[in-house]
């Protein structure tokens, strides 16, 4: 990726610049050029996410695990470049002057919110992994040849747990103070079969790490509420990159929240707007529209999230449960073929999850640690700049 090379040179320059502290001969053109490049790279990266080359599009559809991994990579690249632009800025003193004296603290505030979102999303990855485990049980049961009643029931039970884990209302996150389980123990004898198949994993989505009453949707809203594009006439060059980075951050967090099981996401689709006239934002807006559409379609139906693999898994699970309910040994040959292909598809999804979820979670942690580090570095620059500018003002 050409962007990576660019990034290296940026980083190379930071260290030089930092040593010089105040360089006399640095020229303004260089800065403008850096800013141009930053915008171009953001635009290119998002264009690639919106309309990837043909051969990639089929293997990495929108909101699939591998697409999300790419999205997270894009965030990391943009972030590195942004920091380079910010830290390399010659006039650090402008950081303490309007409008940056407001914009940068706002960015830092967004960063903190993004950290909590990373945690929630990472926990969402674990929920998906649990669904994967149930799907694997179903797959191994349904792969038995010939398929017998016992295995079909076993698969049905696993699929039922899978769906229950998926459809837990994401508003529901008890404080674990009230963690008394509401299992229906000891009430055996009520032999209606729906009750008997207690879904294990009911509580998976109740993550420890996400605070009570925390709302992903509100976080996104708060991150974007004060996000305003700089007006054309504003003198400082840094307001724009700060705005771009904020938009990238809000967008990426928003997309992750939409994709992964996450606590409280009502109204997610409407939460943030990027002005259309900005060229670097075209693809981002395109993506936002696509995902927003999807979200509106799915919002009422539950809370699995838009993760492509989960959507497919849900459909397959529903269809296979229907099959299981009507199954009678040995099963109709035509139906059995159809089921075999669905099972194969489910197995393939499990394979993708097995392959992609752990790396995705690791990447999300990387985003987390990167944000922590950058935030500290930027605060340091801020502090330093404040110290320098203080005696003169």
């Amino acid at each position: 990726m050409p962007a990576t090379d660019q990034q290296a040179s940026f980083l190379g320059r930071i260290s030089i610049r930092r040593n010089q502290v105040i360089s006399v001969d640095g020229n303004n053109d260089q800065e403008l050029e850096d800013l141009e490049l930053f915008q171009k790279h953001v635009a290119d990266r998002f264009a690639d996410l919106l309309s990837p080359p043909e051969e990639v599009a089929s293997t990495e559809p929108l909101l699939s695990i591998s697409w999300l991994r790419k999205l997270v990579d894009v965030f990391l690249c943009c972030e590195a470049e942004f920091k380079a632009v910010l830290i390399m800025c010659r006039e650090h003193s402008q950081i303490c002057k309007p409008p940056l004296d407001r914009l940068i603290p706002e960015l830092m505030d967004r960063a903190v919110k993004a950290l909590d979102i990373c945690n929630a999303v990472s926990s969402g990855v674990d929920s998906v992994r649990q669904c994967q485990k149930f799907a694997e049980i179903a797959v191994s049961a349904l792969e038995q040849k010939p398929m017998d009643d016992g295995q079909v029931k076993r698969a049905r039970k696993a699929l039922n747990s899978l769906l229950t884990a998926m459809t837990i209302d994401d508003k529901e996150n008890r404080d674990f103070k009230g963690a008394e389980r509401t299992r229906s123990f000891g009430r055996r004898g009520n032999t209606n079969s729906a009750n008997k198949e207690r879904a294990v994993g009911n509580f998976r989505s109740l993550s420890m790490i996400v605070a009570k009453n925390w709302s992903a949707s509100k976080q996104i809203q708060a991150m974007s509420s004060n996000l305003v594009a700089p007006r054309g006439g504003e003198p400082t060059g840094l307001a724009l990159p700060v705005y771009i980075m904020s938009s990238v951050m809000v967008f990426v967090m928003w997309a992750l929240v939409a994709a992964m099981p996450c606590q409280e996401r009502s109204g997610l689709a409407t939460h943030f707007q990027i002005p259309r006239q900005l060229t670097w934002a075209h693809s981002m807006i395109g993506l936002q529209e696509k995902i927003g559409e999807e979200w509106k379609k799915k919002e009422k139906k539950g809370s699995v999230g838009l993760l492509e693999e989960m959507q497919k898994m849900e459909k397959l699970a529903l269809s296979l449960i229907e099959f299981a309910d009507g199954f009678q040994f040995p099963g109709d040959t035509e139906k059995m073929e159809e089921v075999a292909s669905q099972v194969a598809e489910l197995a393939e999804i499990c394979g993708k999850m097995e392959e992609g979820l752990v790396p995705l979670q690791t990447q999300i942690r990387e985003v987390f640690h990167r944000i922590v580090r950058s935030r500290a570095e930027i605060l340091e620059v801020l502090e330093h700049a404040a110290k320098i500018s203080q005696p003169t003002t």
Binding site: D116, N119, G150, Q151, R154, K157, E180, R183, S207, M208
Partner: protein, 636 residues
């Protein structure tokens, strides 16, 4: 289908054959001669029968035996489905019988295993029934498992003990005003309690049911249902851990929430966190691991998989709080809490590594180590900032009376707490660039280079003391009166020396530093005496122009002026005050006595405003901090 009918005739067909055979036998009994045709048919029947006998005696016999076995097992399994009681609640016999039934089904499945199941017929039918029964049994066992785990979970509520909170009450506020000398005298006993809970296990589940759980695990694993077992086990145990955390009053806080907390509240939560970390990692998780080993020890990777799934979320939640702390602003008062956090995590890291030693635990291990080093870096950074904050603390107005500046009190009391963290500190500071020029400035001739004075912490402490001293010099320049500058410096350096001498700091500052600084404040004392009293005493000197009366008068005025000023000044340390009063007397009294002795005959008493004794007494009023005046009042 035809094959099926020959092997296993239906009941009806059987009845027909029996009827037909009886008919044949009857006919045979009636006739004596057999036609050739009749004989041929009977021979055919005979050969048919001979092959059939084999089937009935071997295969058929075995199948019916297997079928009997299955029926028996099925009955037991089905019987429990309509029973409102739980099997394991109904007594060990019941449970054993149930498990026996499942084992019978497994035997049935195994004994059919050699036959091709795609083949239809009796074996197929038995096999299907067996699989079905097995599934029902597994579903039931899963339910029983959840119930047992849930009903027999055990907690102990550990008593909340504050762990070595060594650094209470050093509050930072911008004015440095809240620091008092007394508050830090609790640098207290630690150690001892640190290790006592090591190797302490809890029974998270009543030990008497462990064999039951284990037997369920065994049979579910033998039936190839181990995944279901694990999911159920994880589900219950993870929930139990959540619940335990709530018993410990661990709160779920977002990073944003943590950053908004007031320091007092945050400090309390940190202490609590330290305690919870200790309880969870070295007691609870160690016990959970043991439980997993007991139950799943024979099942390879399922064991570590379950343990990690049970604990991951909670551990990450705990680590997240730590992360939030390192993310917040690095105020000096946070240093001790950061060091406490760092120390507990460093203490626990080996346990943590062994709990999560498998590959799939690396995520947690890595997060743990990231936080550990993050806390270290944060502590280091906070300490550096502390140093910088001292260097840059600027005052606009001189500190009234020349007494001990609050900054000095704050810094010295703060530093006094650091030796307790010496080892950790040295580890953290080891790789830091030390500003040598600053740090070494105080130890010029490497005489007392014992290890404690040359460790990184010692350098840093002296470096801080040296910034503090430069800052004091800057602050002293705010006084217009030179003499007060000296008093201020003398007071404050004396205070620093005293704090160093009276605490473990002396080991890090070293005798050389102490000697040198005693020299410094004594020098300031000397300078004071010279600056204030040389001119006063010089009034008594005969300069050839001034008559005796005038010299007395000028001396008295100068003395009164000093008295008025310097009774306002303050030397809080009594010993130091006394010493300075003595050296002042030594400068003034002999000169005055001498002057009076030489001149007492030439001047009338009314011009001698003060006797030597008066002066000696008046000097004792200096530096008390309460202004007095001698104007218009004779002290006789």
């Amino acid at each position: 289908m035809c094959n099926c009918q020959t092997i296993m005739p239906s009941y009806e067909a059987e009845q027909h054959i029996i009827a037909a055979t009886q008919h044949i036998l009857k006919a045979l009994g009636a006739s004596k001669n057999l036609s050739d045709e009749f004989k041929r048919v009977l021979t055919e029947l005979d050969s048919h029968l001979s092959t059939m006998t084999i089937i009935t005696e071997t295969e058929g016999g075995r199948f019916s035996e297997i079928e009997e076995q299955l029926k028996h097992a099925e009955r037991k399994i089905i019987r429990w489905e309509s029973d409102p009681c739980l099997i394991w609640d109904s007594g060990p016999m019941e449970a054993t019988e149930y498990l026996q039934a499942v084992n019978e089904i497994l035997i049935v499945i195994e004994s059919l295993g050699g036959l091709s199941l795609s083949e239809n017929g009796k074996p197929k039918e038995i096999a299907l029934r067996a699989q079905n029964a097995l599934q029902r049994a597994m579903s039931r066992l899963e339910e029983e498992l959840c119930h047992i785990l849930f009903q027999h979970k055990q907690y102990f509520k550990p008593q909340y003990v504050l762990l070595h909170s060594r650094a209470e009450g050093v509050f930072y506020d911008e004015s440095f005003a809240s620091v008092e000398d007394e508050i830090v005298d609790e640098t207290s006993q630690r150690d001892g309690e640190d290790r006592e809970s090591a190797e302490c296990y809890l029974d998270l589940v009543d030990p008497c049911v462990i064999p039951n759980i284990k037997s369920i695990a065994n049979v579910m694993s033998a039936s190839n249902y181990i995944q279901e077992f694990c999911e159920a086990f994880i589900d219950i145990q993870r929930e139990a851990l959540y619940e335990y955390l709530s018993v410990l009053e661990m709160e779920k806080l977002s990073i944003e929430d943590v950053l908004k907390l007031e320091w007092d509240c945050l400090s309390r939560k940190i202490k609590k966190w330290i305690w919870i970390m200790k309880v969870i990692i070295s007691v609870y998780l160690a016990s959970e691991k043991r439980l997993c080993d007991q139950i799943l020890g024979d099942f390879g990777s399922f064991n570590s998989f379950c343990f990690i799934e049970i604990s991951k979320d909670s551990v990450l939640c705990l680590l997240n709080f730590g992360q939030a702390i390192t993310t917040g602003p690095q105020k000096p008062e946070k240093l001790f809490r950061l060091l406490d956090m760092y120390e507990i995590m460093a203490d626990l890291h080996l346990e943590m590594d062994s709990l999560f030693s498998e590959d799939n635990g690396s995520f947690i291990r890595i997060e743990y180590h990231k936080l550990l080093s993050g806390l270290g870096a944060s502590a280091r950074e906070t300490f550096m900032r502390f140093g910088n904050a001292i260097a840059s603390d600027a005052s606009i107005r001189p500190f009234p009376g020349g007494g001990i500046h609050p900054l000095v009190k704050y810094v010295m009391n703060y530093m006094r707490l650091l030796p307790d963290y010496c080892d950790t500190f040295n580890l953290l500071l080891k790789d830091q660039d030390i500003d040598e020029s600053n740090a070494v400035v105080e130890i010029d001739n490497g005489q007392d280079f014992s290890s404690s004075t040359s460790c990184p912490m010692a350098y840093h402490l002296r470096s801080i003391a040296s910034s503090l001293e430069s800052n004091l010099i800057d602050k002293s320049k705010l006084y217009k009166d030179d003499s007060l500058q000296y008093i201020f410096l003398m007071n404050n350096i004396h205070y620093m020396v005293k704090k160093v001498k009276d605490s473990d700091l002396r080991l890090f500052f070293g005798d050389e530093w102490i000697r040198k600084h005693i020299g410094k404040f004594q020098q300031h004392a000397t300078s004071y005496v010279r600056a204030t009293w040389s001119s006063v005493v010089s009034m008594l000197r005969d300069d050839g122009n001034t008559n005796l009366k005038e010299r007395y008068r000028r001396f008295s005025i100068a003395f009164e002026e000093v008295y008025k000023n310097q009774t306002r000044w303050c030397i809080p340390d009594l010993q130091l005050r006394e010493d300075l009063q003595i050296s002042t007397s030594q400068k003034v009294i002999p000169a005055y006595r001498n002057f009076v002795g030489i001149n007492n005959r030439n001047v009338s008493d009314k011009h001698v405003k003060y006797t030597t004794d008066d002066l000696e007494e008046l000097l004792l009023d200096l530096f008390v901090g309460s202004p007095r005046s001698l104007h218009n009042s004779r002290r006789r």
